[in-house]
């Protein structure tokens, strides 16, 4: 997994609540067997009309937001389906940090598996950031080590993050490798369960 330490990038404001993973990456893009190349489907119905032509007024298509690395979104971002294609598509598009007042549980977990940083700020802070990002200067800084977001005008907001997740994100650690260091514990647990609940063992 790619490490996340610090990001200086343009922020794009998307002032919609309850953006679900069907909107982030619609169904027709889920038939891939790859992780790469999903940026073409990101926010597809927002970015493109039914004929596949770019909608120039959608914020991600506007020239001043081209190359944005941070998405500032409404409440409950990433609700709905468990599709990890949602963080994959965001990352493939170049967005490696999403800021919102809250995230849906599975999406939030999926972000940490991929080096995409989900940042939770207070409602007034998200509003302030959203308003600034709508102006002429969209450059924000996210520093995971100090847990701070710096707005285009220089306002600094701090955010909370689980210490364990922070460490993994900073180092880009592989969860499977880490769990396998406890392989003996898993062996012991399985052996005990086989005795206690033998009906769960299939021949």
């Amino acid at each position: 997994m790619k490490a996340f330490t610090r990001l200086d990038a343009r922020a794009v404001p998307l002032q919609i609540a309850n953006i679900d993973t069907d909107q982030i990456i619609p169904k027709q893009f889920l038939k891939t067997v790859e992780r790469e190349g999903l940026s073409k489907g990101l926010f597809y119905d927002f970015r493109f009309d039914p004929e596949g032509k770019e909608k120039p007024d959608f914020i991600l298509n506007r020239s001043e937001y081209k190359g944005a690395g941070v998405l500032v979104a409404g409440d409950n971002f990433g609700c709905g389906s468990s599709r990890e294609h949602a963080p994959w598509a965001l990352l493939d598009f170049g967005i490696s940090c999403v800021i919102s007042t809250s995230f849906a549980d599975i999406f939030y977990n999926n972000c940490f598996q991929n080096g995409l940083l989900p940042v939770v700020l207070k409602p007034d802070e998200v509003t302030a950031l959203m308003d600034e990002a709508k102006g002429g200067n969209h450059m924000v800084s996210i520093d995971l080590e100090t847990q701070t977001v710096t707005s285009p005008s220089g306002k600094t907001f701090t955010f909370e993050i689980d210490a364990q997740r922070k460490t993994k994100m900073l180092k880009g650690l592989d969860a499977i490798g880490e769990t396998l260091t406890a392989a003996t514990d898993i062996d012991v647990y399985e052996a005990k369960r086989a005795l206690d609940q033998p009906w769960l063992e299939r021949a």
Binding site: E34, D45, I186
Partner: protein, 478 residues
């Protein structure tokens, strides 16, 4: 020091599966891992790249459900017209073969929607931990199993280690008291709960459902209730196992047999929340006050009684909320104050992991019997599995649906998410028994109204949203 309070059912299952803790994160043992074609290819590719085996293929079960066509399944995967879908299905076939995982392929009578198949086979059992790369895995909580959706990286983690790294959620109890009115059931309960707590109201929680109205539900009803738990944001839903659960499981293909059954049963009976357990949040609803519900908007929390009207942005205070309501009304093609029963329906979909089990089909067929689908309506029934389909055909339900003008299809996820050829055209309005009314979910520009199977069946006949109670004979019929 005050005495320790008791444990909730969630606490008990969690504790029983705790393998180890690493830096404050739990390593939780997974008893059953369900997999399907859409969220696993990248996980198997990861295993191959790192030369890791599947730790417990015997605790893994694979089905093909999300993108399979619902007609012509006997022709096999090679005949699937959509090239990408075919490749994904073939990739699953190769992966289960390479790693020795049990698989019910498309066309096998045991195949179907993963959340219908697990319980039907008796693979889903009380007290288990169950995960699947699908958010509606919460369905299995109906059996008193801790079950939730995971992403593809976590699928790979479970394949490699048979464990999941997790943080414990908080406990919420939703109590449904009272006896529901005729025509009101599990789907209405679930929508009422989401309407009450909101689509993010359950975030960070596991919900245990309790109360006499929940106890009175069949396993099918409990599965519908737990299925929709994720739409309220909660990780999982739980119903403590009881005689209804045990009766459902006894004799199923993978349920314990003979002496093992008695042993399992005595354990399952311990799976209840202690009387002195404390929940972080309690929600109490009176089932007797719940009317048949429909969604009017583009979030499952946009719930209204079928006798109600579409809301107006003016009813809300914040600018964001006003804008969200206006946006949803615009997408749905509704005007503020419009009666829900005025909404003309183009398509009726009876199916999905929420409502495609035999009881769902029976309740829809009871409404449809002797009636005709309105001339302008395209209606389809997609049974949840080959076995549900076979059972329905044995009961003659297929003939009732076909005589009324429904399409009788083969099993799969179908129009719930429209990955296969079953989807809505732009602007089409659908009465759907599925679980998500998101923008574009059933097809770009499609408009989804969620409701119960009986309500969807009634809408098919009426040609517009309608109160199912108008179709029911006599006041005492349920």
């Amino acid at each position: 020091m005050p005495p320790m309070s008791g444990k909730t059912l969630y606490d008990k299952i969690w504790d029983a599966h705790l393998v180890a803790e690493q830096d404050g994160e739990a390593i939780l043992y997974i008893d059953l891992h369900l997999i399907h074609e859409v969220t696993t290819p990248q996980a198997f590719a990861g295993l191959r790249a790192d030369k890791r085996p599947v730790r417990r293929p015997d605790r893994t079960l694979a089905v093909a459900d999300h993108n399979i066509p619902t007609a012509g399944q006997a022709k096999g995967v090679g005949a699937v017209a959509d090239e990408e879908a075919r490749l994904q299905l073939q990739t699953l076939e190769r992966n289960v073969k390479d790693y020795g995982i049990e698989f019910f392929p498309m066309g096998d009578v045991r195949n179907g929607i993963v959340h219908v198949v697990g319980p039907e086979q008796g693979r889903t059992q009380p007290g288990m931990t169950i995960v699947c790369g699908d958010s509606h895995t919460s369905t299995h909580g109906a059996f008193g199993a801790l079950a939730h959706g995971i992403g593809t990286s976590e699928v790979e983690h479970v394949l490699a280690t048979q464990t999941l790294r997790a943080k414990k959620a908080k406990n919420m109890r939703v109590t449904l008291n009272g006896t529901p009115a005729p025509g009101v059931g599990a789907k209405d309960f679930a929508l009422a709960v989401i309407g009450e707590i909101g689509t993010a109201g359950g975030t960070g929680y596991v919900i245990e459902y309790a109360g006499e109205a929940v106890r009175a539900l069949s396993m099918e009803g409990r599965m519908t209730l737990c299925n929709l738990t994720i739409e309220g944001g909660a990780r999982a839903g739980l119903v403590a196992p009881d005689q209804t659960t045990f009766d459902y499981l006894r004799g199923r293909a993978s349920a314990p047999k003979a002496g093992a059954w008695d042993m399992a049963l005595s354990y399952w009976k311990t799976l209840v929340t202690d009387e002195d357990a404390v929940f972080d949040r309690e929600v109490v609803l009176n089932a007797a006050e719940i009317a048949p519900l429909v969604t009017w908007g583009t979030s499952p929390e946009d719930v209204v009684a079928v006798t109600g009207v579409a809301p107006s942005p003016d009813q809300f205070t914040t600018a964001d909320k006003k804008a969200a309501i206006a946006r949803a009304l615009d997408y749905m093609g509704l005007v503020p104050g419009q009666a829900m029963t005025d909404a003309k329906i183009d398509v009726v979909f009876i199916g999905s992991c929420t409502n495609s089990r035999i009881e769902d089909l029976r309740s829809a067929a009871a409404i449809v019997e002797g009636r005709k689908v309105a001339g302008h309506v395209r209606a389809l029934v997609v049974p949840g599995s080959g076995l549900v389909k076979a059972q329905a055909e044995e009961e003659g339900l297929d003939e009732i649906f076909i005589a009324a003008g429904f399409d009788w299809r083969e099993p799969g996820c179908s129009m719930c998410l429209g990955m296969n050829p079953d989807r809505l055209a732009p602007g089409e309005r659908c009465a759907s028994t599925s679980n998500r009314n998101f923008e574009g979910r059933q097809g770009r520009g499609g408009r989804t109204h969620l409701m119960s199977p009986a309500m969807a069946a009634a809408a098919a006949v009426a040609g517009h949203i309608v109160d199912v109670r108008d179709f029911m004979q006599g006041p005492s019929e349920a």
